[in-house]
Symmetry: C2
Subunit: 374 residues, 2 copies
C-alpha cells in the first residue's frame, strides 16, 4: 500500500480554530453529537443495548454524553479507567478485560465493586478464582462476563471451556452476567468486517447454547467493535460495545464504521520544514499520532488540505509527508489538520483535548483516564 | 522477519521488584549509571562534547545525572521539554528542532531565552526570520544551530542553502552557534550504522567548509543518535547528541548502540490469558509498549523469561505472544519483564517510572516532560 484509498480522499477533518499552538488534538463537538446519535439510533433500531467502550475518549465527559443519549452503561479496558469513570459518578461499568486481581489491584477491585455496579471479564478458571479471592469477605457484588474468542485469536475461551469457567464463577460466589467477544479480526481489512460480525454472532450463539444447556442463566450476550456493531444484525447479541465511533478515524471510515464526513478528531500540526524536495515535515510525530498503521492503508494518517499526500513515516516529533506531484507545496508555518489512522492511542498521548463547535474553542478538556493502563 | 535475532536472545532485563501492580515501567538505576558512564567515557576519549537528548527520559532527574557525569548541556525536541528542564534548574538547553515560533510559542520562546542559555534549530530562511521576530524587542539572546540533512531525508538543508540560512541568522540579530545533523538512517538496520555515521561526518564537513568560506564562525558541529555516536570517529564533529543510550532498548542493542547486558528499562507485565493455544497475552499493550517496530526486527519487544517468544501483535491493552514450541508455557498471573523495541515512546506513555536498585524500588519518578509535544 503506497496510495490513498478512494475513501481516504473523501475524509473531512474538523475545522481548526485560528491561532493554535501546535501540535494539539482538536475535537468537534457537533460531529461527536452526530456520531453518538447515529450509533444509538442504529442499535435502538436493532433492539440491542449500547455499552460504549470508553478507552477511545478516556473521559467521563464523553461517557456522560453517551449515557444521556441512551447507552446502558460504560465499557472500559482497565481498572484504572473504571475508577476514573466511577469517580465522575458513572455507576455501571464493565471492565472488558481478563483482569488478574492480586495485590493492589485486588484491593482496588474490591473497593470499586462496593460503590458501582461492576462486571469484569474472565476467560479462565484461574482468573475467576482469583477474582473470587479478591472480593472474598466483602459485601461487594461482582459480576463476571465470560470472554470467548470469535476468531481474533487474542483472548477468550471456547464454548466447552466456557461452561467450566461459568461453574467457577458460581463456586467463587460471584454472579454470572453473560458472555462477550470482540471480533477484532474485522480490523484486518474492509473485506473482513462482514465475516467478523457473523463470527461474533455464531460464536456467541454456540457458547450461549452450551451455557443454557448446562443450566446457567445468561442475561447478557455482548459483542463489539465499531465496524462489527455497524455491520452486524445477528441474534443472539443483546449488547454492543463499540468505542471508536464517538470520534471516528481514518481506519474506521475505511472499514465502514465511521462516516467520512463527521470525523470528529484531528491533530492540528504545523509545517516546520520543506527543506527536502517533494516532502514536508509536520510537528505531529509518533508522540501525537502514534504508529498504528494497518497493512492495508498507506501512511500514518491523512491530511485533507494536502490532496494525495502520504505521511510516509513518523518519528517521535516529526511526520514526514510525501507530497503529490501535482499539488502546490505547503509553506513553512502552515497549519493543517491530520486525520489519524486510529483515534484511541492519539487521545492517550495527550493531556487535553481542545473541544470546538463551528471552528471555535469552547473548552480544554483534560483526558482524565489518560495513561490508566492498569 | 519472524525470528528473534542472535542479539535478541542475549538481552537482559532489569530485575523486577516483587508485588508489582502491572503494567508498569521499571528503570534500573545501577544500569543507568553504567550506561551514562560508558557513553561519557567513549566521547571523552574521542574528545567530543556530550549533549544528551532528553526526549528519551523526559525527566530533569536523569538530565542532572548526565550533567554531573560530564555532559555540557541538554538537547530536547520541543519548547515544552525545554521549559520543564529550565524549571528544574538546567541552564543550557538546545532545542534540536526547526521551531516555527508564532503566537503562544513565540512568547514561550522569548521568556525561555531570557532565563537560560538557549539554542534552537532552523533549516530555512523563513524559520530563522520568524525566530528573530519572536525575540525582537527583548534582551533575550537566542542562538541558532542550522540543521543539515545527512541522508535521512527528514529535515535539514544542504551546504549551499545553509549559507543563506546563516546570513538570515545574522540579519535577524540572532547568534549562529553552529550546525547539526541527525543520521537517522542508521535506524534502517545494523548494516546502515557505519555508513550513517560517515555521512554525518562528511555532510557536516561540507557545510562547515561552506560556512567558513563565507566568513562565518562555527563554534559547534553537532551530530547525533545513539548508534552513530558509538560508531563515529569522524572529524569535524565537536558534539554528539545521543538520547536512548541512557536506558538502551532492543533496537539499540541490535544496532550496537547499547550493551545488551545493561538495558535499564523494561515494562513489567502480567500474563492475563493463555486461552488460545500456543499463545499468551500480556497486559502491556500498545498504550505501554507503543507500536515502534523496525522492519528488521520480529515483533513488539522481547521477553527474556520466555525464550524464543515473539510478541506478534499489540492492541491498545493486549500484547499477544507466540510462544516457542519447545518452551514451557507461562501461567496466568505470571509477571514478566518486556524489553521494548524503542524506549522513548514507552516513557512518553507513562506518568511515572519505578526506579530500582538491585531489584528493590527506591523511588516513583514522575515523567515531568511527558506529553510536552509543543
Amino acid at each position: 500500500m503506497n496510495q490513498l484509498t478512494d475513501i481516504d480522499r473523501t475524509l473531512s477533518a474538523p475545522r481548526l480554530p485560528h491561532g493554535l499552538d501546535t501540535p494539539v488534538v482538536v475535537v468537534d463537538l457537533d460531529r461527536v453529537d452526530a456520531n453518538i446519535a447515529r450509533m444509538q439510533a442504529h442499535l435502538d433500531e436493532r433492539g440491542v443495548a449500547l455499552r460504549p467502550h470508553a478507552k477511545t475518549h478516556k473521559s467521563p465527559f464523553f461517557a456522560q454524553l453517551q449515557l444521556e443519549a441512551g447507552a446502558v452503561g460504560i465499557t472500559v479496558a482497565t481498572l484504572g479507567e473504571a475508577q476514573v469513570m466511577a469517580d465522575a459518578g458513572i455507576d455501571d461499568v464493565f471492565v472488558a478485560y481478563p483482569l488478574w486481581a492480586v495485590g493492589d489491584k485486588a484491593g482496588r477491585l474490591q473497593a470499586l465493586a462496593g460503590r458501582v455496579r461492576l462486571a469484569v471479564g474472565a476467560d479462565s478458571v484461574e482468573g475467576v478464582r482469583q477474582l473470587g479471592r479478591a472480593v472474598a469477605g466483602s459485601s461487594a457484588r461482582l459480576e463476571v462476563m465470560i470472554e470467548v474468542d470469535s476468531g481474533e485469536g487474542r483472548t477468550g475461551t471456547d464454548a466447552a471451556r466456557a461452561v467450566e469457567v461459568a461453574r467457577a464463577v458460581t463456586e467463587a460466589g460471584l454472579t454470572l452476567r453473560g458472555v462477550f467477544t470482540h471480533g477484532g479480526h474485522a480490523y484486518r481489512g474492509p473485506d473482513r468486517v462482514a465475516g467478523a460480525a457473523e463470527d461474533e454472532g455464531s460464536t456467541l450463539g454456540a457458547v450461549l447454547r452450551a451455557l443454557l444447556d448446562a443450566g446457567f442463566e445468561v442475561p447478557v450476550v455482548s459483542a463489539g467493535s465499531t465496524p462489527t456493531a455497524v455491520a452486524s444484525a445477528a441474534a443472539p447479541i443483546t449488547e454492543e460495545r463499540p468505542g471508536t465511533y464517538v470520534f471516528g478515524d481514518r481506519q474506521q471510515a475505511n472499514l465502514g464504521g465511521s462516516d467520512p464526513a463527521t470525523l470528529a478528531l484531528a491533530v492540528a500540526a504545523t509545517v516546520v520544514s520543506t527543506a527536502v524536495p517533494g516532502r514536508c515535515v509536520l510537528d505531529s510525530g509518533a508522540k501525537m499520532l502514534a504508529k498504528d498503521k494497518p497493512d492495508w492503508l498507506a501512511g500514518h494518517g491523512v491530511v485533507p488540505q494536502l490532496p494525495g499526500a502520504v505521511i510516509r513515516s513518523v518519528y517521535d516529533h516529526h511526520a514526514v509527508v510525501d507530497l503529490a506531484d501535482d499539488a502546490p507545496p505547503p509553506r513553512v508555518g502552515d497549519i493543517v489538520a491530520v486525520v489519524p489512522n486510529h483515534a484511541c492511542p492519539v487521545v492517550n498521548l495527550t493531556d487535553e483535548l481542545l473541544l470546538t463547535r463551528a471552528g471555535e474553542v469552547v473548552e480544554r478538556l483534560p483526558v482524565l483516564a489518560r495513561g490508566r493502563n492498569g
